[in-house]
Symmetry: C2
Subunit: 219 residues, 2 copies
DNA sequence: ACAGAATACGAACGTTCGTGCTATTTATTT
DNA sequence: AAATAAATAGCACGAACGTTCGTATTCTGT
């Protein structure tokens, strides 16, 4: 039953052309913002249509089902994340500089309030962490991907001789992610304005403590 | 308007006696479990009533409004948290042992799946972190309280001479909380079975690195 | 045992949810 | 300019939402 809905949604999306794709993009840009604040469940077709001054049915036709809308929103958020974090970080030289660039851009993404409700994926993670279904699966997949990107950055820093080779890369990735998560939490829920400064200091200290003498200086 | 609803809810609750209070407790015990998985918004009067084999109206009468139900659920979760984490930890001697007991019981609470959906307050935090209203305010208040408890535990450990006095207590509390948050995330979303073991190792190492020679040995 | 209060229920309310049809507008192609 | 296809709107649906109200049940104190 659901599978059918997906296929319909995908087919509809696939057949679209310029104009349709542009409105679709406009919808998703707004949807990401809305979902970051109200959650992917709180992202309702009605409110979305109203805010974009479209009809429910006109908007709905772009996706074919709510689940497909959620998936598309998650996908859009992933692209923004890659655009604003992963890509710029790859501009930095391999090793410690790139590792730090990743952390830095990541924290900046939320600090600069690119998403109205803070970190899209932190919210989505905790919202869907005990549900079943394709949306959960996709979110988990993207998060695994991100942790892997972080882990690889650590590995590369080790290969470059910037980081102590005895360090467990995946564990360090876990720590980095956890500190960022803590910062999002403190900033968003407790309105702690120093949360990101603090996270940066903690992470800088951490990275310095495992840096070799061959590592380029951290900021 | 909402204020009225609250007052009605409170009054209704206040007038209750034994039987009423017992069913109310039964409702809340179930509600905490449900909300930890489906969120405080996903906690609907209908589903709650169905699962408890009660009528919607009969259940609803205990609270007077959905918001009051959410508040009561948050309060119940807080009591469980205190019962299972704070209280047992206070059983341990002041200083490093108590600090570790706090961390340990906290992680155990989620590990043992006391709440079906993982850590109630992590989920609630990210669900309500960009909303306004009394529920958000209460959650934020409780979380501040918890961070303060952690901070005080660090302070006491410093006073007891177990922890380097140069350590910034509130920053350490932030780090501890972040690592726990990261563990909940990895365990619940990514199904990482080693998440809590890893968090324990990270935190043990962290605490050992700031422990004085006067500190009792950590596990 | 009876009165009165406390507790629970059933039915209904107005809304909003996701979703399906059919028509109408807008763009592209011939 | 007509024909065709794509994009949006209009309207209606059944289900579920929070909430209200009148009524029945169950308990408590006398």
């Amino acid at each position: 039953m659901l599978k059918t809905a997906h296929r319909v949604g995908r087919d509809v999306a696939a057949r679209r052309q310029d104009r349709g794709l542009r409105t679709r993009e406009a919808i998703l840009a707004w949807a990401v913002d809305l979902a970051s604040a109200d959650g992917l469940e709180g992202l309702t077709v009605g409110s979305l249509a109203e805010q974009l001054k479209m009809s429910k049915s006109g908007l709905f036709a772009h996706f074919g089902s709510k689940e497909e809308l959620q998936l598309a929103t998650v996908e859009k958020a992933r692209l923004i994340f890659i655009e604003k974090v992963t890509k710029p970080a790859i501009g930095a030289p391999k090793g410690m500089p790139r590792l730090w660039a990743m952390v830095d851009h990541w924290l900046a993404l939320v600090e600069k309030r690119v998403f109205r409700g803070g970190c899209f994926f932190s919210a989505a993670s905790f919202e869907f962490d005990s549900r079943k279904g394709v949306v959960h699966d996709r979110i988990a997949e993207i998060m695994r991907e991100w942790i892997e990107v972080l882990t690889r950055a650590v590995n590369e820093a080790q290969k470059a001789g910037h980081v102590d080779p005895k360090i467990d890369a995946s564990r360090l990735a876990f720590e980095i992610h956890a500190i960022a998560l803590g910062a999002h939490w403190a900033y968003q829920l407790l309105d702690d304005r120093r949360a990101y400064l603090r996270a940066r200091m903690i992470l800088l200290e951490k990275l310095r403590s495992i840096a070799t003498s061959a590592s380029p200086r951290l900021p």
